[in-house]
């Protein structure tokens, strides 16, 4: 159906894709896996006309095609769902879906017709999107469904998905894969990029492996094991020794920081907190929790159960309507974000690209945010350039970020490297408590392991963490204690090493 022949694309001196040849058959789910920066996203962007290949060609149904814009690709029936969703938050879900192909009469949007068509699609594929809600207020899963609907609305034959499951919770992921199967039954083709090997193994009919821009071949899941695949992805490092941090668990070995005995003092305390909440996400309802010095507290939840509210309330982005928040023996309930940060409380938002980064500004400006004051001369505050450069290089090296120079715009990094940059920024300096939402988003196995090791080291030095993630098994294998939020209430908190998975599962579903 689609054949890529020797497709190459270069950014500066970096080959994102180099002589990639992949064949995708009609009606199959084709997985593409690889490390951060292996060129997966670039490949999808070339297929969907967002980028043009420097060399090589694309054959669609045997005929060479040349997409000069996403519009060209859409015409040919190819649609891409981006890793960073392209949503207009002010428009309603419906308007977002029909955007660019609005049914209209005399220049007016024919809402009824649009709604009927969208309703049909939702029904066929089992989506439940509130069509009249502003897209910005929907949880991530809802926004993602909008973007998928947008492609389906345009009758795409080939759907390209870039990291679709990175912000979905386990039940949503299951629903998502059922949706992929229903697409296949209709004879549509899916190209799926993901870091979660087990998922891809389960869902895909065939899997292509990319490493450093080159394609290492295409495999059928039945004929290879996850380990073999992982070995090909990261080749050069000894995969066998690495702890598996993937979905299906395995024996975690990064837990040595947990043997350090009981936490010493209480750093953070939240008492009977209430507040926040919208129609689409639960607010907090009487949440009380404590975090000890050097403790890693994991918070798990199914999307929309108040986990975002919790993070935003701790960081100060959202006011605490009732109850109080104490940090380092001080009531911080009414302090603004920046004052909390000065006390040593930091926050890594879930959508780093939108909420923590400046996409079009150079790397050094992105890296500097939050660390800028100490790096300027006193008293006038002029930047000391050499120092900033040295600090920036060191910081990027620490976070293992692959980049093409501090002056390059952030956009030039791959999604995984952007996340690494945000992570290394929030970890740098001397924080006391870090609230992280979905820290592993978009990271490959190795980067995840490095991240958890780094968190472990920092926790031994006395830094506390509140880590909010949908990947509960990862939390269980790496945190000291794990709590579960259900409809804005803390359903339970338990030591990670003693609690059973069944118990966590019951908490997540609100059973006691």
């Amino acid at each position: 159906m689609i054949a890529l022949e020797n497709v190459s694309r270069r950014f500066g001196f970096l080959w994102a894709n180099r002589g990639v040849s992949i064949e995708v058959c009609r009606g199959e789910i084709h997985g593409i896996v690889g490390e951060n920066g292996a060129g997966k996203s670039t490949l999808l962007k070339i297929l969907s006309g967002h980028l043009q290949a420097d060399a090589g060609r694309i054959l669609l149904d045997g005929k060479p095609v040349h997409f000069r814009s996403p519009g060209d690709a859409a015409q040919a029936g190819i649609g891409l769902v981006h890793q960073h969703l392209q949503i207009f938050p002010q428009l309603t879900a419906l308007e977002n879906v029909v955007l660019g192909m609005e049914p209209k009469a005399f220049g007016f949007l024919r809402r009824k017709r649009a709604r009927r068509r969208c309703g049909e699609l939702c029904e066929i594929f089992g989506f439940s999107v509130p069509l009249d809600a502003p897209a910005g207020e929907l949880p991530f899963a809802g926004r993602q469904q909008i973007e998928i609907l947008r492609s389906l609305y345009r009758e795409v034959r080939v759907l390209l998905l870039d990291e679709p499951t990175s912000l979905l919770s386990p039940p949503e992921i299951n629903r998502f894969f059922r949706f992929l199967v229903s697409l296949r039954l209709q004879g549509r083709t899916v190209v799926l990029v993901s870091h979660r090997l087990e998922e891809v193994m389960e869902a895909a009919d065939r899997i292509s492996v990319l490493r450093r821009g080159k394609c290492l071949g295409t495999f059928v899941p039945r004929e290879v094991t996850v380990e073999e695949l992982a070995e090909r992805i990261v080749a050069g490092s000894r995969v066998g020794d690495e702890p598996s941090l993937s979905r299906s668990g395995g024996e975690p070995s990064v837990v040595d920081h947990r043997k350090e005995g009981k936490p010493k003092g209480i750093v953070f305390r939240m008492i009977h907190a209430r507040g926040g909440g919208s129609e689409y996400e639960a607010g907090l309802n009487d949440v009380t929790l404590e975090v000890g010095e050097g403790e890693i507290l994991g918070i798990g939840a199914i999307v929309g159960n108040g986990e975002r509210t919790l993070a935003r309330m701790i960081s100060g982005m959202m006011p605490c309507r009732e109850g109080s928040i104490h940090f380092l023996e001080r009531d911080i309930s009414s302090l603004p974000v920046w004052e909390r940060r000065e006390l040593g409380l930091r926050w890594l938002p879930a959508n780093t690209f939108e909420e923590a980064l400046l996409p079009r500004r150079p790397l050094w400006e992105n890296l500097l945010m939050g660390h800028h004051r100490p790096l300027a001369s006193r008293p006038w505050g002029w930047f000391r350039r050499e120092e900033i450069r040295a600090w920036g290089e060191a910081c990027l090296a620490m976070g293992d970020v692959v980049h093409g120079g501090l002056g390059e715009p952030l956009e030039s990094l791959s999604g995984g490297n952007q996340q690494k940059l945000a992570l290394t920024r929030v970890l740098a300096g001397s924080p006391r408590l870090i609230v992280m939402e979905q820290p592993g988003r978009g990271l490959d196995i190795r980067a995840r392991r490095n991240l958890w090791e780094r968190l472990g080291r920092m926790s031994i030095q006395g830094v506390s963490f509140v880590i909010i993630s949908h990947d509960v098994e990862e939390l269980l294998s790496c945190c000291h204690r794990v709590g579960i939020l259900f409809r804005g209430r803390l359903a339970g908190v338990a030591a990670a090493q003693s609690v059973s998975v069944e118990c966590i599962g019951r908490w997540m579903l609100g059973l006691t």
């Binding site: 974000v337 920046w338 909420e355 400006e365 945010m369």
Partner: protein, 343 residues
């Protein structure tokens, strides 16, 4: 090196091109030939020493109001209220100079300018306060404040602060308060100081921590707060600074040009500040270019009447065309696909 200077905004060139085209077509339409209008504008603004001095003098308020709009735009606030801030700043400076007559010149001039700036800042404060506490859009509030300022100034100058005549003006300020041209041939210094100020602001924005914070707030407010920057504080400070610049523009008009305040004082300098700023996409370091263009057009309007018998309003048409071209940014689309218009 990761530091990049500002590039000449393509907007400006497309705007100039549009202006020239308009001049040529309207010149032909009025039967003077395609180049007559362009020549007249040149002669009217730079054709003689006197004309050049007038042009330079007109640059000062444009630079300051342009800078006022540009810095506010840095934190995503649009200050349409320069007109009102400038008017009240001018009145305040004139009144202060008249009251504090006895002060020596070296104290009187800066103090009068400072009073003008302070009143300008004060007049911008309600807009940003209302935005922060009630969520009112600053464009609406500053626009309304303009009207209030104009009529307030008119009332004051016809009544308590006037010179008693029915002209609606204050008395002439003492000679000690007059900002005299220092250079030979009567070239004013204020425009050069203005350019210097713009360049300092540009350097501050790109190479200073505080300027960096302002930039970050303007690009991504959530990210700024996430990384511990007081976004609200910067919005307030920058907006007050913006008002102060506009007020100072009024003060300098009084001290350097008119030597008194009279009703309907601002000749549209406040609104032209918006044009000046957006011609160069709000880059403070490039404001001198757009201020030069706008001042040249303004200075040439009388000459147009004298030389060609064309109505001075022609200049307004050209200004509008230039602004339109700048706002459409056609060149930005053609030559810089996918690039950021903002440095």
């Amino acid at each position: 090196m990761p530091w990049r200077g500002g590039w000449l905004p393509s907007t400006f060139f497309s705007a100039c091109l549009m202006g020239l085209l308009l001049c040529a077509t309207s010149g032909m339409a009025t039967g003077h030939g395609p180049f007559a209008l362009i020549r007249a504008i040149w002669e009217g603004s730079w054709g003689s020493v006197d004309a050049a001095i007038t042009t330079l003098a007109k640059m000062t308020p444009l630079l300051l109001t342009g800078l006022a709009v540009a810095v506010a735009w840095r934190v995503n606030l649009l200050n349409i209220g320069c007109e009102g801030q400038l008017t009240l700043g001018a009145l305040a400076a004139a009144t202060f100079a008249l009251q504090a007559e006895s002060l020596p010149s070296w104290a009187l001039i800066p103090l009068s300018a400072a009073v003008g700036a302070a009143i300008g800042a004060l007049w911008s404060w309600p807009a940003v306060a209302l935005k922060h506490f009630r969520g009112t859009h600053e464009v609406i509030t500053t626009l309304i404040l303009n009207y209030i300022a104009t009529y307030l100034a008119e009332y004051l100058v016809l009544g308590p602060l006037g010179d008693g005549s029915a002209m609606g003006r204050t008395a002439q300020i003492p000679s000690g308060a007059v900002l005299k041209p220092v250079l030979s041939m009567g070239v004013p210094v204020a425009p050069f100081a203005g350019v210097l100020l713009c360049l300092v602001v540009q350097a501050w924005l790109s190479r200073n921590v505080w300027g960096y914070e302002v930039t970050v707030v303007g690009i991504n407010r959530v990210a700024a707060e996430t990384s511990g920057i007081n976004a609200r504080g910067w919005e307030r400070r920058i907006f007050l600074f913006s008002g102060a610049l506009a007020g100072m523009a009024g003060a300098i008009e009084v001290l350097g040009v008119h030597h008194r305040f009279y009703r309907a004082f601002s000749a549209g300098y406040g609104f032209d500040g918006v044009t000046t700023a957006f011609l160069v996409q709000g880059l403070p370091g490039m404001l001198w270019l757009s201020a030069l263009l706008m001042a040249s057009l303004r200075a040439a309007d009388k000459w147009l009447q004298l030389a060609l018998g064309v109505s001075p309003n022609m200049i307004l048409v050209i200004q509008a065309g230039v602004l339109l071209a700048a706002v459409c940014r056609p060149a930005a689309v053609f030559f810089r696909r996918g690039r950021v218009p903002w440095k």
